[in-house]
Symmetry: C2
Subunit: 222 residues, 2 copies
Amino acid sequence: MSQPSAPRKTPGRPARISREDIIETGRRIVTEEGVDRLTMRRLAKDIGSTPMALYHHVRDKEELLVLLLDDYATRTMHRPELPADPRERIVVAASAIHDVLAACPWIVEVLTADDLMSTSALWFVEQIVGGLMECGLNPERAVHAYRAIWYYTAGEIVVRTAAARRRAADERPTYREQVFAGLDPSEYPRLAQVADRWAPLTAEDTYVVQLRALVDGLLLTR
Amino acid sequence: MSQPSAPRKTPGRPARISREDIIETGRRIVTEEGVDRLTMRRLAKDIGSTPMALYHHVRDKEELLVLLLDDYATRTMHRPELPADPRERIVVAASAIHDVLAACPWIVEVLTADDLMSTSALWFVEQIVGGLMECGLNPERAVHAYRAIWYYTAGEIVVRTAAARRRAADERPTYREQVFAGLDPSEYPRLAQVADRWAPLTAEDTYVVQLRALVDGLLLTR
DNA sequence: GCTAGTTTTTATACATGTATAGAAACTTAG
DNA sequence: CTAAGTTTCTATACATGTATAAAAACTAGC
């Protein structure tokens, strides 16, 4: 029998940096100077290493960003008291995920990650799926319903923060504004009717209201 | 009075390439060789110009991709016969947008564009907003409801195609798979219950089903 | 025709992610 | 100790988007 308690060292050159070092330094750069300043060279320099050394601990920069988001979520997502009513519990849990992610500025580069759901967010997913099943959905429908909630949430965040970024970076009127300005009322009567209110209306944050509608629709017994 | 019909030339060096040239050549490269092959240098070479010359006709590469998506949508989105029932019309119009975008492989790099909605897609937006109002929503609620549909649609496409790309690029098991494999059933009973079915379930295409639920929920009179 | 002004194009340069090759630093077997 | 094997790190190189500065090609005013 082998002795697993022996001070067994792994062969090979000992690592001078760890994934944790990378995440920690990366977090510092991002929080202090913004995600734009996070480059592999800068990170390597701050860590006292070389750019390519990082690649032995993370697959690429996208994985690094996912890890940083994970780290951020773990530090930020504390489990709240959830309502007893399952329908309300679904809404509150989804909103909790939404709010944490929406507050994370570098989200867009990463949110396309299907498997983003970090361990810390799993508890919320559990609550949502559990709530859906408690409301009468079978497991299959509950998973599909959860996915719909996730699609809606991710889409809201991605579209909204990308739009905000674009507004900040460019003073020119958006393409959308130009299109709406030159709208032919005879061909697009409904859009022309709301054209001047479109921008303020889409700027309003109605995430929760529409989430409620989605949940209501998902729970309809048809 | 000035004579606008006179052959009035603009001052300055005459352009040798046009935005249309760029879009046309870009489309050819993308369709023939894929979006990965579309680089500013390659595009310039094919067009017989230099990379930086392109930047007088498009702001940056992202705008070029938006233009290409717009071009693609214009060529692809033909107005179908829509059902008379407004609720069904909403579903069919949204599905039409979804299907066209989902079939576009380079979508993810661009779909974060809030103002992506090209002129050719506006007709579908008109149908959706019109259908919502016909179902009794006032203009404000109709716009918000349309946005919810758009968030859901964009989120579905972004998350799904990004996941597909990641699977294609990497043979390793995803992070999500690892997390689900090591799930503690006592802490996450619902997730553990569906853990082995999660991957096939999320692979199913239930866009339309969940869209119907969303529309139903948005139209509930509460 | 010449000059000034305007627009487009070109040349050059830089920052960035990352592929590749090999050197360095360790463990283990003999 | 030496040799082989393994892992990590370093140096170099390349592709890419794009900033900057200057040259080129035109029109309009004189």
